[in-house]
Amino acid sequence: MPSRRHRLAWAVALFLCGLAGSRTVGARGILPPDCQDTTLPNGLRVVTIPWDSPGIIALSTVVFAGPRDETQPHLIALSNVASRLVETGGDRSRNEEMRRLFAVESSVTFEQDATVHSQTFPSAALQTILAEQARRLVTPEFTPARFRAAVDAEVSRLRRRLSVPAGRADWELRVLTSPTASSATPGVDIVESLEKLGDRPAEALETLDRWYRPERCVLVLAGQVEHAGALQLVERCFGSWKRGGVAVDTPPRSVSVGARAREIKLPGRFDAVLRVAYPIPGRELDDPEGPALAALAEAIFGATGPLYQALVVDEKSVADLSAEPKSSRERGWFTIRARIRNPSDVADVRSRIESAFVTASKEPIGRVRLATVIDRIRFRRLAELDEVDGVARLAVDSLVLTGRHDSWDRFFAALQAVTPEDIQRVSASYFDRTRQCVVTLVPETAP
């Protein structure tokens, strides 16, 4: 039976431990502690991030539907068309007017399973912008005629993008890694597929009607914004938005993907473009695997990495080299991008990329070097806090991966814990030639 003194000693100890714990929990996170996240009765979530950006607000509308949900071959690029419909609200002139008056800066980005509409504008325009966004989402007027117009606009945009070698290679890779692709899939004419999509408005609009529902959306407001006031405005604008009621049926996917390759020759003179992608499992931000893959990408392909130094700095055979483990909640892709000066070097570069993974799996990275790489990843990400759009972007990236806006702190903690052995393990686990998706784009005249 412990004595009173013992009990008292343990009570003090627990109190001190509590203090220590609360100090850790209360340690300053990446985003301010007064961020708030509220879900409205219709399922729409509203996240506010107060940030010192006088007179400016960044609004991100996250819709949890993206390329990953294009589950039928004829639906390829539907998320792009959808984003265009929402962006213009079916009324280009109105959109132009908003841009002209409020100088609104807007963009759309696509993750595997999400589409993000981002807008930055003067805080005085918040009410107008929210009302306009509600008009686009709550009463979207997705008529067949507007859908056709959006498809046509997207076709022209796509043509322009495909005219640039890097843009073409990225699109080919997107098709190659899409859920409907298989090793037997022949090359897809993306423009042709998209044009055909315009002929099937009913099916496409029905899909969009399921995608664009409040329970699948999050509004992230960063900047000079106060939660209660913002919530009131959002409720007024989006309160009448009805839940979908129909579940979006997206089949689960496995990590096992067979090798796929696409080689394209085009007229003209340009550097060869190489894209190599390996499937990686979907991860939470703080799962050690994700940070280890991020560290591996930086360690090999970053500016001080051995492969980068050899190919880009010393031999100068490669103009650009980078790698990114892009994760999603189900499956991600570790993608390597290279621009190769001489097309005849493509095979060599590809083989050296593969060898780099083998080396990384056998030779452990030095601890000092690993610490440098980890610092680099962390500070590069924190550099986004330079402007309010970057603050919103950080929250959105976290939301898309984990469903929470504030997971970066856990990611950085997990990143800090990555060991040389983790790097070796992931190098040996995922970079198998039999699971590679490769796109090469070379000039026609090249050997």
Partner: protein, 517 residues
Amino acid sequence: MMLRYLARLLAALIVVLPPSPLVTTPPEPFEPPRIQVGGRRVLRPVVVPPIRVPLTLVPSKSTPLLAVRLVVQVGSTQDPPGKEGLAALTGMLLAHGGIRGATHEQILERLYPLAASIQVECGKESTAFLATMHRDNFDRLIPTLAAILVMPRLDPEDFKRIRNDVLARLDALRTENEVDQLASEILEARIFQGHPYGHSVLGNRASIEAITLDDVTRFFREHYNRDTLRIGMAGGTASFYVDALRSQLGGIPQATARRSYRIPEVPRREGLEVTIVEASTSHCAITLGFPIEVHRAHADFSAVRLAVAALDAQQFGSLSSPAGTRLTSPISAPAHASMEVTFRSETVDSTLTPEPRSRPHFALSLGGVRPDQAARMLSKTLAELDRFVAEGLSGEQLDAVQCRLENTTTLGSRRLDKALGLAMARPLLGRADESDEAGGTQGSASRDEVNAAIRRHLAPRGIQVVIVSPQALASKMATDVEAALRDSSTGESTAGSPAYRSGLRVKVLKAGQLATR
């Protein structure tokens, strides 16, 4: 007994507790760190009194980042004749040429884990060195940033590397994608012919090849001193770091002699002078402009700024049509022509922080114009400009543009380094009003004031036009342009015959004849 328990527990907790998390309170007074190379201390700390030079602070409550900007009041206007580009080359060698005790590569290695870099912006009248960092890295980056001004390496090998980079950039200006910039640079050369503004900040091939390392060293010693330096910091706890920054810069010398340099007035030329420049391009770039007196301290600055914004937004909307198309790359599809109206009271490159200019000019540029449409587009553009000057702005147009300009200005300064650059520009040229944007008032002027300013400043007696054209078509274009402009002076223009139309001169410059290249 219990006390012993407590002592043990406390000792254990002290060991177990993690090191202090990211700074939650303002940092301790800063001790200037030593400069390290590869983890080894090779230099003694600089023990000198903190420098006292003009300081600008832009605090921000939220961000953990700090932006630092060191501006030296020397730019391309002080390039000696025959050595055009010397100021820019000096700035670049300082920023990317290493410091005493550390090579450029060693500095890159040092900055790599910080995900930071030291950048340089070279302008007509100033050179700025800047870096943005997480405040945790202040003591790892600032000594290096300061050292590039206090003890630059000025090594012959680095000099060669940087000079080759500049030559490569000059060559790149000739490629298809840079045609618009080439047109802008030649326009400036034409407008400011015989004036210190009349050459490119980067110089030209011959002048860059003529510059030696001795020239750079001499230029650095002559111009980089306490008289010409201004410093600025922006970010969460910027004020806490000021003394540390001042200390690090303590080694910057006093000026040996007080120099006053005044940019001369711009000589005015009358008439319409069209210069057609041959380049290897498939499409044309057209740009026209003229000098104006309205710098940021001028009473008409706001009015002219509003007028130019209105001109860009409304009057010329119809010109951005698919009429002129171009191939954007070897495997491209057609794209629409682009159009931009600018009031060059600041730097040309919109990605950089505006550098206030004491000798501004007005410019209007059309990009991606199909060669067979170029003469017609130029004629129509001039006619639209004439009409704008004659009719001015309506009250409704002015309200809309005022609102837009205010919003654009607010959004444009949201990045930390940009906000700092704008704040540092504010006191220059006599403007210190907080509501100013980069030293000029943001845009409140009545309709009468704006229309009077339009008539006063946007109706010149002389206009320079530059057309960058495909080589094979330059001569034919000269004929077409001459015909179109002679017709338009009596035809399309509804504004009578403006003064500049009194004399038309068209000439063709071969690729090898470019004065600015």
